[in-house]
């Protein structure tokens, strides 16, 4: 591995490592075949699924797909409005899928899909005590992130902007504050619209990016998935490389004229 190769170190969460820093969601894909192409192009090694009441004739096709692609399954508690609902959903996911990892979502309402911070911390504490590896979807609030880390969460996953909005990272400063203070990985989760948003998340110091809609609802999902894969890698390398300081005035990149014999 040389300096000129943008080598992305594996993402480390709890005791596990993942070769990709891009975590994918599966919601919003028009078909399983398109989802398969997108997941493959993204290079992701960890991907979320939701838990829902069975419909008659329900088949485990999304699970079959992830198993076939050898992608780790991360169940979420999407749609839960209380800590109690989220805890039960996580326990059902553990029983159904045989994993004690959970992307914990406790939303305040269906309109904003913003996290309910009080229910979120409550649920996180209960699930950590119950042996779960908890990855909470949270607001872009550095204080809340600290509380979640304090109760034992294995990562914190702040939104850049509301789920599915594609508005990017509305408060980059708060994300930087979270990264600076956190002892666990900070994973930008929600709001990513395009590749530049994903690259920015990594440049801000995030350990990874979780996205779904930006890919699954793109005009060409597999192409956007490849763009996200490259953006996460580029953003990571850019952060590692150490950017130049921002300056108020120009700084010539050529030697000054005084040193030139021609003038």
């Amino acid at each position: 591995m040389t300096e000129t190769t943008a080598t992305t170190q594996p993402l480390r969460i709890a005791e596990r490592t993942f070769e990709s820093r891009l975590i994918m969601g599966t919601g919003g894909a028009p078909s399983l075949e398109i989802l398969r192409e997108a997941l493959t192009a993204s290079g992701t090694r960890l991907t979320t699924v939701a838990m829902r009441r069975v419909a008659t004739g329900t088949r485990g096709s999304i699970l079959d797909l992830l198993t076939e692609l050898k992608i780790e399954i991360l169940p979420n508690t999407a749609g839960c409005l209380t800590a109690g609902d989220a805890v039960l959903t996580a326990r059902l996911a553990r029983e159904a899928l045989g994993t004690s990892w959970v992307k914990l979502e406790v939303i305040a309402d269906e309109h904003t899909l913003l996290p309910d911070p009080i229910e979120l911390v409550d649920a996180a504490r209960t699930l950590v005590d119950d042996g779960f590896t908890v990855l909470p979807y949270t607001n872009d609030d550095p204080v809340l992130a600290r509380k979640l880390e304090d109760v034992g969460c294995a990562a914190v996953m702040p939104l850049g902007s509301p789920i599915g909005s594609g508005l990017g990272i509305r408060n980059p400063h708060n994300i930087e504050l979270m990264v600076a203070a956190a002892g666990v990985p900070v994973i930008l989760d929600a709001g990513i619209g395009s590749a530049s948003d994903a690259a920015l998340a990594m440049e801000l110091g995030c350990a990874g990016v979780l996205l779904a809609s930006a890919v699954t609802r793109a005009q060409r999902p597999a192409l956007m998935a490849a763009a996200m894969r490259d953006a996460v890698a580029a953003g990571y390398a850019s952060r590692e490389a150490g950017r130049i300081p921002r300056r108020r005035f120009a700084l010539a990149s050529s030697p000054s004229r005084d040193e030139s014999p021609l003038f």
Partner: protein, 67 residues
Amino acid sequence: MITVFVNGNAVTVPEGRLLSELVDAHTTSRSGVAVAVDGEVVPRTAWSGHPLAEGAKIEILTAVQGG
């Protein structure tokens, strides 16, 4: 006959009906499925030894695309 609630819907079943039989009637898939009765997870291995009680609230969940 007794009445139980499956995923929010009232269902009439014979007395002594087992949870395993109820799950079989609602989904053909056994992998990726989990069941809670009255807010508590019932492990798969316990389904066939779990007779349904009058008024029980049963949730049968599976993984779907999402997140």
